[in-house]
Structure formats: C-alpha cells, structure tokens
C-alpha cells in the first residue's frame, strides 16, 4: 500500500465522525459572554477562601490513606501497561479472566465512549484481586474487582450518586473511587482529578445496567462491512460483532443513548436492510 492509498484509507475510515452533543454544547457555551462574570468571580473567590480555611483546618486531622486504597494505588503503579502498549487481551478474554479471579460473571464496560481501550486483565499476586487495565495514549486507568469484605472505606468521601454506594479518595496525584454493590466491590484508580475519575467510574457502573444486546439480521451478505462501519460510528453503540456466516450483527448498545428502534431507523435511512431478530439475547 503506497502513501496515497494509506491516506485515502485514513480519510475514508475516519470521516463522518460526529462530535458528542454534550461536548459540542460545552465548547460553544464557554465561548459566550457571561454577564454576571464579576459577581460570580467574587462569589467564587469567597467560596474558595472558605474552602481554603476549611481545608487548612482539616489538613491536620486528615486520616492517612487506608491500606486497601494504598494497595490499589501500588498495584496500579506496578502494572507495566502503558498507552502505547499493544492490547494483549480481547474483551472476551478479559471478561473470562475477571470471572475466573472473582468467581463472578461480571460485565466490564468497554469505555470506548471515553476514548479508552481495555488493555488486559490479570490476578494481582499480592492481593488476589482481579485487575483490569484501560488506557489511552495519555492515561492508564485501573479497575480492581474484589470482595466487599476487603474494602476499607475509612478516609473516603461518600459521593452523592443516587442508587450507588461510592466513595472518593485522593492520594498525591492519584484519585481513587471505590464502589460497592450487591456483594461486589470495585476500586478505580487513575492519575486524574477526583471529579473526573468519579464521573468515569460512576458512568461505567450505571452503564452496566443500561447495556442491551440485540441481534440484527442482515439481508444482504455484501453489506455487512458497510453495516459495521455504520454501527462503529453510531453514538451509544458499545460493541458489535459481525457474524457473516449467519448474516447477523450482534450489537451491544447503551440504551440511555440509543434505542433499538433508533438503530433500525438509522440503518434503514442509510439503505441497510437490517432488521432486529424477534428475540433479544439480554
């Protein structure tokens, strides 16, 4: 393949991607003048002053990071997976490793929406926890799955998330979010602000309950590749697997962002004769 062909491949593969609506709106919103900027700035300065005094007062009595959280950060730092490393496990292999280590069938989110890739999963020798590593070119995130009995929440700040037991911790440059739910605990670790990590961890957890898998029958075998390209660029589609021999596409999607009906309409609008099977896998 010569340079021109490679350039064409890149441009045709990457064209047509749409900016997430929320990101687009945030960017445009921040460009607009703020009439109450001065009042807001004064209020923010006053709040910062109060918060600063509070922090200074609390600094002396701030508890040391508890052992569970410290171990999670250590294991996160010890792993040798970086953003540029090749992915060593498929999502299926990762799910299998997590199930074997934890003894539970656990869905680990793909995090593709956030620009992350599932890199690998292993059992931490020191702790026996399942450790799933996500990365992009800048950042590495760890998600540990463990028995809730091992979870020490001392020193954490409870996050106000309806329907979710979540705590946030900070140690140096690292933020940690611990979640507890139905006999299972997860600890997320990353070199991110606490708010940012919390939003990732909470979204991943909430997404778990919103994922739906449907099977689409593809009438024309030849259109499978184009159908894949279309699904790939559809917001809310977490994962899909083409089954050319059966002329089927198994699609996993976040039903908060897209419904099966919307998927079908979108495909029909684009000329794909793909219909949902009359049953759903999950």
């Amino acid at each position: 393949m010569n340079d021109d062909e490679l350039r064409r491949l890149l441009q045709t593969s990457l064209q047509g991607r749409r900016t997430p609506t929320e990101a687009r709106e945030r960017v445009l919103q921040n460009l607009r003048p703020r009439t109450k900027l001065r009042i807001a700035a004064a209020a923010a300065a006053a709040l910062l002053l109060v918060a600063g005094i509070g922090l200074a007062a609390g600094w002396a009595r701030a508890p040391r990071t508890n052992p569970t959280i410290r171990r999670a950060i250590e294991q996160h730092m010890l792993s040798q997976v970086f953003g540029h490393a090749a992915v060593t496990s498929t999502p299926r292999e990762i799910a299998q490793t997590v199930s074997e280590v934890s003894g539970r069938d656990i869905h680990m989110p793909g995090m593709r929406d956030g620009g992350f890739t599932q890199m690998e999963a292993h059992c931490c020798e020191a702790t026996g926890w399942a450790h799933v590593i996500y990365a992009n070119s800048w950042l590495k995130l760890s998600c540990f799955v463990l028995d809730p009995a091992e979870l020490d929440l001392s020193g954490g700040t409870r996050l106000a998330v309806p329907g979710l037991e979540a705590w946030s911790f900070v140690r140096g440059a690292f933020s940690v979010v611990a979640l507890r739910e139905s006999g299972l605990a997860k600890i997320w670790v990353g070199d991110l602000s606490p708010e940012h990590l919390a939003s990732i961890a909470v979204d991943a957890e909430q997404k778990r309950h919103q994922m739906q898998t449907s099977v689409l029958s593809v009438a024309d075998k030849g259109s499978a590749r184009q159908l894949g390209a279309m699904l790939q660029s559809t917001p809310g589609v977490e994962d899909f697997q083409m089954e050319p021999s059966k002329q089927e596409a198994v699609v996993r999607y976040d039903r908060r962002r897209v419904t099966l009906e919307e998927l079908v309409v979108m495909l029909e609008t684009n000329g794909f004769a793909a219909r949902p099977r009359d049953w759903e896998v999950r």
Binding site: M1, D3, E5, L6, R7, L9, L10, Q11, S13, L14, R17, R18, T19, P20, A23, R24, R26, V27, L28, N30, L31, R32, P33, F82, G83, H84, A85, A86, V87, D113, G114, G115, F116, T117, N136, S137, W138, L139, D191, H196, A224, R225, G228, A229, Q232, S233, Q241, M242, P244
Partner: protein, 180 residues
C-alpha cells in the same frame, strides 16, 4: 464584537466535528480532546480579527489547535513514561507490508485504534498531514518542529501504521472475524 463572535461561532459549528476529531486523534482521549478544542476555540475567538474572511477557517483553526495540543504534549511529556518507540519500530520492521486484500478485514474502528497506537510525535504528524490534509510544511509550522523532523515522523508513522494495520488484519483473518 458581538457580530464577530456570531460569525466565529457559525464557522466553528460548521467545522466542530473535524476539529474535535483532530484533537481526539492527536490526544487519544475525549477529555483532553474537549479541553484542546475549548482552548483553541477561545484562542481563535480572541484572534478572529486577524482571520481573513474567505480563507480556509478549518485550516486556520487546525493550526491553532495543533499549537494548543503541542503545548499540552510538552507539559505532559515530563509526567509520561517512556514511549515504546523501539517496540513499535521493531514491529514495523518485522511485519510484512499491508496488502490491499487486508483492507477487507479492517473496520474504521481498527484504523482508529491503529492510529492511537502510534507514538505521539508520529501520530501528530500523521493526523495533521494524512488525516487532515496539511502539507508537511504547514504541519511543521503548526507543531513548531523543523520540516525534516516532520518528514521523518510522517514517514515512520506511516510505516508503523501499515505494520499495525497489517498485524490487526492478520489477527482478524485468523479469527475469522472479517466481515467479507
């Protein structure tokens, strides 16, 4: 100013997708991409009076965006672990070249992932030149690198991209996961 702002916003809306995904391809993650677009938009708005009406707004903003990215990259570089250039280079040298038939097995997602696997410097050069259509000289100006450096990074980036795509295509072929 209001008129200028409105005109800038109209143009920005029109080119937002290209700018956002250029930032995403450059940085590799959506949070940084949004920050880069945000900062570039503010810079662009401040300098919009220097933009000549009728010229290419996307190219003008891409240059600002590349400057913003490179500032972030330099800031982060101190904190990042050493890149695995050697490992990727070894793959590039050991793999067979990408054949047209391999393309049958590749989806856009595979191309996006392969691009994300390149070291930052090479990815930045390839994203600006091959994905966004800048000339090597324009990319050199935007990134603040010498032209020779950009030439070499585009060359190496393309070689490594071919190798990664070829390896992915081979894996997909072996797994029977192709869509043909």
């Amino acid at each position: 100013m209001t008129e200028l702002r409105r005109e800038f916003e109209t143009l920005l809306r029109r080119h937002m997708d290209a700018l956002y995904y250029a930032a995403l391809d450059l940085s590799g993650n959506s949070c940084d991409a949004e920050d880069i677009v945000q900062e570039s938009a503010l810079k662009g708005l401040r300098r919009f009076d220097t933009f000549r009406s009728g010229t290419d707004f996307k190219a003008w903003m891409l240059t600002i965006l590349a400057h913003t990215y490179i500032d972030l990259y330099r800031k982060r570089r101190r904190e990042k672990p050493a890149a695995t250039d050697d490992a990727v280079q070894a793959i590039a040298e050991s793999e067979s070249p990408l054949r047209p038939a391999d393309l049958e097995f590749l989806l856009p997602e595979d191309v996006e992932r392969a691009l994300a696997c390149l070291p930052e410097e090479q990815r930045a050069a390839v994203v600006l030149v091959d994905v966004n259509g800048m000339t090597n000289q324009e990319a050199a100006d935007a990134l603040g690198w010498p032209l020779g450096t950009v030439n070499s990074r585009v060359y190496r980036g393309r070689a490594e991209l071919r190798a990664i795509l070829c390896r992915n295509a081979d894996e997909l072929r072996m797994m029977g996961k192709g869509t043909k």
